[in-house]
Structures are given as structure tokens and as C-alpha cells.
């Protein structure tokens, strides 16, 4: 943990803490791409590694007979993984610079871990795809980009790694850059940055490379620090899934009735006219509470308690929206689903579904196609979705969902599927449309 505040007054420090924002990013890649080395490098160069952690890694590197410190060891958490030398799950890492805190969702790269990649990407503002400069784009790097695009991760960085092994060649970089840009036109990637780096030697990771003077773009760290994420949120369409009804039933707050939840979209203000779904009853916002304070507005991702003027019947699973801008309650859902368990998804199957704060049951009506995440080919002959496969599926739910297309809102457009017998999460869904 570095001393970012050295030399600042207490007031300056307080201001820095008050304004420090957050970037969540997902990395995908395998040991061969140097992903763990890159993360180790980011942690080390941002001084987020402690001496005892570094010493432990140095000792392990030595005992394995390496002549360098294997930074990858910093991130390989569980013993079973260390023994196998692979990363089999999503691991979360943390570091900070003076202006931003970073949460890395670190996921393995192989196709058999697609579900882990989907999990890591689901909360990410930015996706970091690594390619080995010697290999150029591979099936794996294309797949990573496809998954990030499907999960609507708004910012993508392609890090062309191991530039030291291609003599820091501009031609190699330009060729990969061009090839990837061509490929990306088929995807939904609003913002792309291609950065040549050497994770092992540190070029263009935190410090600008002296060996690639031809590159005028940002270093990776500079880009991570400055990419603008606040505008990725929907501040127009009010969506407030009611999570918990706050009823103190105490003498002091005898008549208090508030609706706790996290704002999923739009800006709520006292006095706003609202509609409660699915009942369709309308009321006005009487007040918005954040602990013992009233706030003048609430926006994503604030957790607040909303009070209404009228005594309407509102419970968990309902949604507060605006009368002229509300999702249509629907039981017929068309979605992309990533399947996450060994037993395949088949038509007629019944599952539990959780969407925002609403739980229901869902029937699989049809599997329209399976998407080949390497080629984007749609296989329409498929009758099932296997582990780690992604496909377009039609569902019918027991109660209406109050949803939006995933492309409009990642919170009200997503759901999980749960096996009713085992209780395990078996699928992740992104809604195309509801009717």
C-alpha cells in the first residue's frame, strides 16, 4: 500500500478521499499470456504489494529454481491452484493510486473457464485482454473480446504483451492493432485502446517505455486511471427495485414506512411522480433517506430508503419507476444465457430465476441457437446448451419480470438461473427483449 498522501495536509487528504473514485476491471488470459505477471507488475509498481508478500514469492521462486521473481505467484491463491500452476476461479485484487481505487476481477483464459470470465465481466467497467506479441491474435483473445462485448463491458483495452520478445517492433504492434480493430467492428465495443507493453520488464505498464518511442498513446496505468466511467450509468430511466421494507414499529417512528433499495437507473428526487410495478399504482416521492439524513436526489448505485406520499401497497420485488417511463411487466423473456454447470440446459426444463429483487420460476421454451464464442457463428441445430456454452433462449416465467434490455441497463437486464434441487447457480442471463 503506497503512501499516496505524503506531504499533503489533513484537509487535502480528506478531499482526496472524498473524490477518489472506483474502476472495476476484468482481466482474462492464461499463464502463457503473462496475465499474472502483468497483475503482479501493476500491484508492485503501484506499491500495493507488502514486503512479506514479496518475500514469500521470492522464496518460492528460488525454491523452484527460477532466476527471476515470478510475479505470477503473487496472485495464484489457492494451494490446489498453485500446485497445478493455473488459475481456476475468479480472484479479486485491489490497488489504488491517488485518484482511483481499482478492483480487478482476475479470470482464467481457457475456453473451459468461460463461465468464470462471464462472472468477472458482469461487474466490470473495463475489460483487459492480453495477447502475446509473438503470437498475434488468437482464438482465445477473440473469445475474450466477444465475452466482454456480450456482457456490455463499456471499455476495452487490448494489451499487446511481450513486446520485448519482438524487439519492441512497431510493425508487430500495428499489425495486431489493425487486425483487432477489424474484428471489433463485429462487436459492441464503444471504447477501445491498444497498448504495447512488456509486463516482465515493466514497459508502458506504469512507466513509459524508452524502447517504444514510436508509441504516443497512454501507458496502461495512465489509461486505467483516466478512463471516464461515470457516464456509463443510465441517469435517465428511473429504476428502483424495492429490496426491503423498513418499518421500525417504534414509538418514535410509529408511522415510518420506507422502501430500501439500490438505485438501478435514473435520478430520483423528492416530489417526483412515480409508479409502482407491477400494481401500476401511482404516488409521489415524499422523501429519500440515507441513514439519518434526507438527500435531495438518489442515483446509481446509491443504496437509499424511499418514502412515498400515499399509503400504497409496496413490497420486495416491486419496482418504482416513472409513469411515462417504466418497464413493461412481462413473462416471456428472450435472453442470451451462459450455462454454468455440467448437466446441459434443455427445452422444457424448469428453473428458479432471480431478477433484481424478484424471484420466480422459469420454463425453458426454446433454445434458438448456440453462439460459437470463437467465431460468432450461430448454430441453430442445437438442442441444448452445455457447460460454458452461450446461446439464445426463450423463457416463460411464473410471474412477470420488470425488466429492460441488457443493452439499456445491466442491472434490470440481467438475471441468474438456479437449479431448484441443488440450489446452485447454473446460468447467467442477459435479456434481449421481453414481450
Amino acid at each position: 500500500m503506497s503512501d499516496h498522501t505524503a506531504g499533503l495536509t489533513q484537509a487535502q487528504k480528506a478531499e482526496q478521499i472524498r473524490t477518489m473514485d472506483l474502476l472495476r476491471f476484468a482481466t482474462a488470459g492464461s499463464v502463457d499470456d503473462g496475465k499474472s505477471t502483468l497483475i503482479g507488475r501493476l500491484l508492485l509498481d503501484s506499491k500495493s504489494i507488502f514486503e512479506d508478500q514479496l518475500e514469500a514469492v521470492e522464496a518460492t521462486s528460488q525454491s523452484k529454481g527460477y532466476d527471476y521473481t515470478d510475479l505470477a505467484l503473487l496472485t495464484d491463491g489457492l494451494r490446489s491452484e498453485r500446485e497445478q500452476g493455473i488459475t481456476i476461479d475468479v480472484a479479486y485484487r485491489y490497488f489504488a493510486t491517488p485518484t482511483r481505487k481499482f478492483i480487478i476481477a482476475d479470470t482464467p483464459g481457457h475456453v473451459q473457464y468461460t463461465r468464470n470470465m462471464v462472472t468477472g465481466a458482469s461487474t466490470a467497467d473495463l475489460g483487459l485482454v492480453l495477447v502475446d506479441a509473438r503470437q498475434g491474435l488468437t482464438e482465445q483473445s477473440r473469445r475474450h473480446a466477444v465475452i466482454l462485448s456480450l456482457l456490455r463491458v463499456p471499455h476495452l483495452v487490448l494489451a499487446v504483451n511481450k513486446m520485448d520478445l519482438v524487439d519492441f517492433s512497431r510493425d508487430v504492434y500495428e499489425k495486431i492493432h489493425h487486425e483487432f480493430t477489424q474484428f471489433a467492428t463485429k462487436l459492441n465495443i464503444p471504447d477501445l485502446e491498444v497498448i504495447p507493453i512488456s509486463a516482465l520488464q515493466g514497459d508502458n505498464v506504469v512507466n513509459r517505455s524508452e524502447k517504444m518511442s514510436w508509441y504516443s498513446g497512454p501507458t496502461l496505468m495512465h489509461h486505467l486511471e483516466h478512463v471516464h466511467v461515470a457516464s456509463d450509468r443510465d441517469l435517465v430511466d428511473v429504476r428502483f427495485p424495492v429490496q426491503y421494507v423498513v418499518r421500525p414499529k417504534s414509538d418514535e417512528y410509529h408511522d415510518y414506512r420506507g422502501y430500501g433499495g439500490m438505485v438501478a437507473g435514473g435520478v430520483l428526487k423528492p416530489g417526483d411522480e412515480v409508479v409502482v410495478l407491477p400494481s401500476g399504482m401511482t404516488s409521489k416521492i415524499a422523501g429519500i433517506d440515507l441513514f439519518d439524513q434526507e438527500v435531495t436526489e438518489a442515483f446509481p448505485p446509491m443504496s437509499v430508503t424511499v418514502r412515498l406520499e400515499d399509503d400504497v401497497d409496496v413490497s420486495r420485488g416491486d419496482m418504482i419507476a416513472r409513469p411515462a417511463n417504466a418497464p413493461k411487466p412481462s413473462q416471456d423473456i428472450d435472453a442470451m444465457i451462459c450455462w454454468m454447470t455440467n448437466e446441459p440446459l434443455r427445452p422444457r426444463q424448469k428453473l428458479a430465476i432471480k431478477h433484481t429483487t424478484r424471484s420466480a420460476r422459469a420454463l425453458v421454451k426454446d433454445i434458438q441457437y448456440r453462439l460459437d464464442v470463437n467465431t460468432l457463428h450461430r448454430d441453430q441445430d442445437t438442442k441444448e446448451l452445455g457447460l460454458n456454452e452461450i446461446g439464445r433462449v426463450q423463457l416463460r416465467t411464473t410471474v412477470p419480470l420488470l425488466c429492460d434490455p441488457y443493452s439499456k441497463n445491466r442491472t434490470t437486464g440481467s438475471f441468474i438461473l438456479i437449479d431448484e434441487a441443488t440450489g446452485v447457480t447454473v446460468g447467467a442471463g442477459m435479456i434481449n427483449s421481453a414481450s
Binding site: 473524490t19 477518489m20 480472484a91 479479486y92 421500525p248 446452485v424
Partner: protein, 304 residues
């Protein structure tokens, strides 16, 4: 009314708070019988604060469970009582001493109180038939925690199986359990040590006094400064000295070391944490130093 956010940006600390409140409410809504596991440390105090905020002006809708090792710092127990009284929360104390007496755990004289806590805790969870237990674990603490879920599934033996953990996507948590199983819930998974301190500073909340610099009679053992105590008889060659110290973590006092420090305010502690070169556990927790995979092993058995 509080200030308007002209740019609709939430600071990272506000985002962490919002996420944690969301988790508390989700669990209170979906689980039949939650409980908050309270260690007395700064992380569990932040948890109490977040729970307070999540349900205000109602009281927190679950009890607070503390495992009393018998070797707890009196300052920590005093702080606990002050919090519980202010919140009007129900406190359940599960005592390691009682568990030893009742034969639930075996004190062989070699096992640390921290390890004996595991059996005591699991027994208390089982006795209370709790279906969800909030813990103050953070993913930045230790490598074995980096892959921990917010909802961490435990089987009927209270065990954690890294291979059985459910994928966790978006902010959609799956709280389904079978009879006899329970879920550990980690609402502050995404907080770092520095975040915790900044939040305590910002909120101006009470923490045990031993976190602040004070005079204490201590002795050195295994490279750590331990407090003088009847529970901690001196071994040959060990001598007691008075030093100016503070604690970075709170646990079994026979194993929890302190560091020499003049930091007597939150701001000074933050300055100290910010330039610390050794993790809080590595520096002062004898129980985590035994092997690189020590934490992973204890987690599998049902440690917090």
C-alpha cells in the same frame, strides 16, 4: 438535506458503503435467521455501522454473536458493549471456556484459542439454527480470501469447499441452502484495510482504544511484541518492558502482537497504514504465520 452531487459521481467509499448496505438488506430479506459475527475488531465495527445504516430508523433485524475466547482484551469487550447498547441489538456470547467444559472443543494446551474458536463458533451457529452468518472478512487480507464469494456456502459441517462455491454475477446473490447448511456472508469483501480506516475516520465511530497508541507492558516472542498477561506466562529469557504501542488487529491476546507507534488519532493511524510495508496479519498474527496456506486450511474447517 445533504449536498447535491452535481456530477452524479459517487466516491469509491460511498460506492463500497452502498454495496455493503445492499448485501445486508438482501440477506435480511431472504434468510430466515441471520446473525452478525462480531470479533471486536475494526472490521466488525464497520459491519455494525453498515448494518445500522441499512435498516435505520429500524433496529438491525438480527442478533450479534461474539465468540469469547476467554483471552479477549477488556478494552475490546467494553467497546462491544457500548455499540450493542447504543444499537439496542441482542448480543449472544459463545464462550470457548464453556465449549471446552462441555467437551465441544478440546484444549490440549497446544492449540491456539483462535483455532478453538472454530468449534465454538460452529456449535453456536448450529445451536441458534442460524441460516446466514455475516463475517467481516476482506478479500485483500490474504491470498486464500481473494476468491471468496460474498455469499460463501457452508455444508452441514460448516466447511468451506473452494470447488463448491457458486458463481456470483452482477449484484444478484443466490441465497438458497438446504436444511442444516448455512451461508457465510461477507458484506465488506471489496474493502481494503485503508478503506476501513478512512471510513472509521469519516464516520467518527468508536473503536477499541487499543488501536490507538498507548503505554503497555510487553515482551518479545517470535519477533512479535505481546502483552503482559496472566494468560501468557513468560518463558525463559523473556523480559517485560513498558513501550508505546498500538494494535493493528484484535484477537486472542496471547497471540496478537502490537507494534511500536505514536499514532494516537485516526489520521495518524491512516498515515501509518499507508506507508506500512508488511500486511496487518503477517506483522502481528502468530496464527497466520505457521504456513503459507494456514488461512486456507482454517477456512476449510469453518474459520470466519
Amino acid at each position: 438535506m445533504t449536498e447535491t452531487h452535481a456530477d452524479y459521481q459517487l466516491s469509491q467509499l460511498d460506492q463500497l458503503e452502498a454495496e455493503s448496505i445492499h448485501i445486508f438488506r438482501e440477506v435480511a430479506a431472504e434468510f430466515e435467521k441471520p446473525v452478525l459475527m462480531f470479533s471486536g475488531g475494526k472490521d466488525s465495527i464497520v459491519m455494525l455501522r453498515l448494518a445500522e445504516k441499512a435498516f435505520y430508523p429500524a433496529k438491525i433485524p438480527f442478533p450479534v454473536l461474539q465468540v469469547d475466547t476467554g483471552y479477549d482484551f477488556p478494552e475490546v469487550l467494553a467497546c462491544r458493549d457500548s455499540w450493542v447498547n447504543r444499537l439496542g441489538a441482542r448480543l449472544i456470547v459463545a464462550s470457548v471456556e464453556d465449549a471446552i467444559r462441555d467437551g465441544i472443543v478440546v484444549d490440549d494446551g497446544k492449540t491456539s484459542r483462535n483455532r478453538l474458536q472454530i468449534g465454538t463458533l460452529l456449535n453456536a451457529l448450529e445451536e441458534g439454527a442460524f441460516t446466514a452468518a455475516f463475517g467481516g472478512g476482506r478479500r485483500d487480507e490474504e491470498k486464500a480470501r481473494a476468491k471468496e464469494r460474498v455469499y460463501s456456502h457452508r455444508d452441514e459441517f460448516g466447511q468451506w469447499d473452494p470447488k463448491m462455491q457458486r458463481p456470483e454475477l452482477w449484484s444478484l446473490y443466490n441465497g438458497r441452502i438446504h436444511q442444516g447448511e448455512h451461508m457465510r456472508i461477507f458484506p465488506i469483501s471489496n474493502w481494503t484495510e485503508l478503506d476501513i480506516w478512512h471510513y472509521i475516520g469519516r464516520e467518527g465511530i468508536e473503536i477499541p482504544s487499543i488501536y490507538f497508541s498507548h503505554q503497555r507492558r510487553v515482551f518479545e516472542r517470535d519477533g512479535m511484541l505481546l502483552t503482559e498477561s496472566d494468560f501468557n506466562p513468560l518463558r525463559a529469557g523473556e523480559t517485560v518492558q513498558e513501550r508505546t504501542v498500538r494494535f493493528r488487529t484484535v484477537g486472542d491476546l496471547t497471540l496478537t502482537g502490537c507494534v511500536e507507534s505514536d499514532a494516537d488519532t485516526i489520521d495518524k493511524i491512516i498515515d501509518e497504514v499507508a506507508i506500512a510495508r508488511v500486511t496487518e496479519r503477517g506483522a502481528t498474527r502468530g496464527d497466520d504465520r505457521f504456513s503459507e496456506a494456514a488461512m486456507e486450511d482454517r477456512k476449510k474447517e469453518g474459520y470466519f
